[in-house]
Symmetry: C2
Subunit: 325 residues, 2 copies
């Protein structure tokens, strides 16, 4: 199948590698809003301007949209779903129903499929929650993120006066994770679940105490957490904090039997050396499912909840059943 | 939806509790090969002889088959799939393709759906392997079972001369699990992965050394493992080993990026106080999906790989998407 990538940042690079590693896929083109001549990509696929998308889309089976959730995808996904099967990683949880409705409308009219909110959260974490809830309807859900880099929180620190660079790690509180794993069904506040570690490069002569104060009191981002601020050199930042690791755990503890006789705990855990490369790999597997489902006549807006898992794998269904079931 | 249970052992009891806890389900009947008058069940559903199954099946939406994989299900599932939608927990891995083909033929001819090999392994563990393989096509799979009771191994010990009762726990080797979690991609032998703990009640005056020797050298069951045999009293057996806990982990470690730059580890872990009650709960969720898929026109033999996850939950799709994605 011929796959296109729309947008070439970290996530686009991750998708590119995953498509190249997929024996049943060919990377047809990378589309960019920038000057195509100025975009160097890792593979030898053509880099094309966005204005050529509509024309090129006719020869492409699925486009993987690697734009941002704040402003790019709400506009881009429905628009491109009117031309081609699409998959996106829209992750503004509160706006998912609205985004899905817009994609559903455009895709249904065009006879394409648009699968939204694909990645690991939303994505694999969501589907883990769903299986765990279906198996244990009477129970409690917990999600822990990290240890990993939050790009949104890192960006928020970089906007503070006197900050040259920053990297923020979200860290689950080990004691909280252990209590959930032990089946204690604890009630946990925001502060109980995660701490935040901030590595900051300050300008020469900057007021470090003012920067620290601005970070730890920042509403929504840090005020509700125990936050540690560590000032480092730009050199140390480059050396120790270049990667984008992430991960976390989805846990559900629930009761079975008569009157909740038996406790059970389900955990789905990810430990990722590179968040965008793993997310890109999940998007690529879902893109395969999109093409297969559309070939069978499915059109409209969909999510990972709607995909029979066997459509995700390059391995034929019979082989999966014989060897993986 | 009206649900029937065929066979009332530990698993049947587990299904019964799960159906009773499901607000969208009604337990229509429990079918048994024994004298229905002699079978006491936990709920007030009618207990009916197997000879009434064909007649009663007309009023039932799905039958959950709780027979054994060795002799019951290979015959029972295709036969009953010709009358009604069915779900089974067939777990003889090597014979799954053959069993699926027989169920597919019968179900297709009847316009019903037959979903086989449902539970946690095969079942949730299988689907965890599939998602992890789809996301990380380049990697290594590991499955660890336990700490939990293996009924097959317990039965094998009970057949030894001089043994009154036995309970066998399968135990993952902590060091092996840690190496996989750490992303080491180790090569592990059977002996490296699990140990076996056997609690045995011997007859008065039995030759305990001979019993121990018979256990640890038993081919297939124990010879390839480091096995510990502990003799206990019948009283201690009743007090400490009445439960049927189980669980384990499916892990996959795989590479993303160019030339395997980044390592990633996915783990799906279960910790179950009661194996049959959890398995019964999974069967019940899949029975719901069977009815829904059949209502939409799907017929034939299916597995958990074929089920869009949102069909498993009692919660409407829109609500799942709004709150769980």
């Amino acid at each position: 199948m011929k796959v296109g990538i729309v947008g070439y940042g970290n996530l686009g690079r991750g998708v590119e590698a995953a498509v190249q590693n997929a024996p049943d896929m060919e990377l047809a083109a990378v589309f960019t809003r920038r000057d195509p001549g100025a975009v160097k990509i890792a593979s030898d696929a053509p880099v094309v301007g966005m204005e050529a998308l509509e024309e090129k889309a006719k020869e492409i089976d699925v486009l993987i949209l690697c734009g941002g959730s704040a402003t790019d995808l709400p506009e881009m996904t429905p628009k491109i779903a009117a031309m081609c099967n699409v998959v996106d990683s829209f992750d503004t949880h509160a706006n998912i129903p609205q985004h899905l409705a817009a994609v559903d409308k455009a895709a249904k009219a065009a006879g394409t499929i648009g699968i939204i909110s694909v990645g690991w959260d939303p994505g694999l974490f969501s589907v883990a929650r769903l299986y765990a809830n279906a198996a244990l309807p009477d129970g409690d859900d917990y999600t822990f993120w990290g240890r990993g880099v939050s790009q949104g929180h890192s960006d928020a620190i970089r906007r503070i006066d006197g900050v040259l660079d920053a990297r923020q790690y979200t860290v689950p509180v080990p004691k909280a994770v252990e209590r959930v794993r032990a089946g204690e069904h604890p009630t946990l506040s925001t502060r109980d679940k995660h701490t935040r570690e901030c590595f900051v490069v300050a300008e020469d002569g900057a007021d470090k105490q003012a920067i620290e104060e601005a970070i730890v009191t920042m509403p929504n981002y840090f005020a509700d957490y125990d936050t540690t601020v560590i000032f480092i050199s730009q050199e140390e930042m480059e050396r120790e904090h270049r990667g984008l690791p992430h991960g976390g755990s989805v846990l559900r503890s629930g009761m079975t039997g008569v009157d909740g006789q038996f406790n059970n705990t389900v955990e789905f855990k990810l430990d990722l050396e590179s968040n965008p490369f793993f997310t890109g790999s999940v998007l690529t597997a879902v893109a395969r499912a999109a093409v297969r489902m559309n070939q069978e006549g499915v059109s409209g807006g969909r999510t990972i909840f709607d995909i029979p898992p066997c459509y995700l794998s390059e391995t034929p269904r019979e082989e999966l059943i014989a060897h993986m079931l």
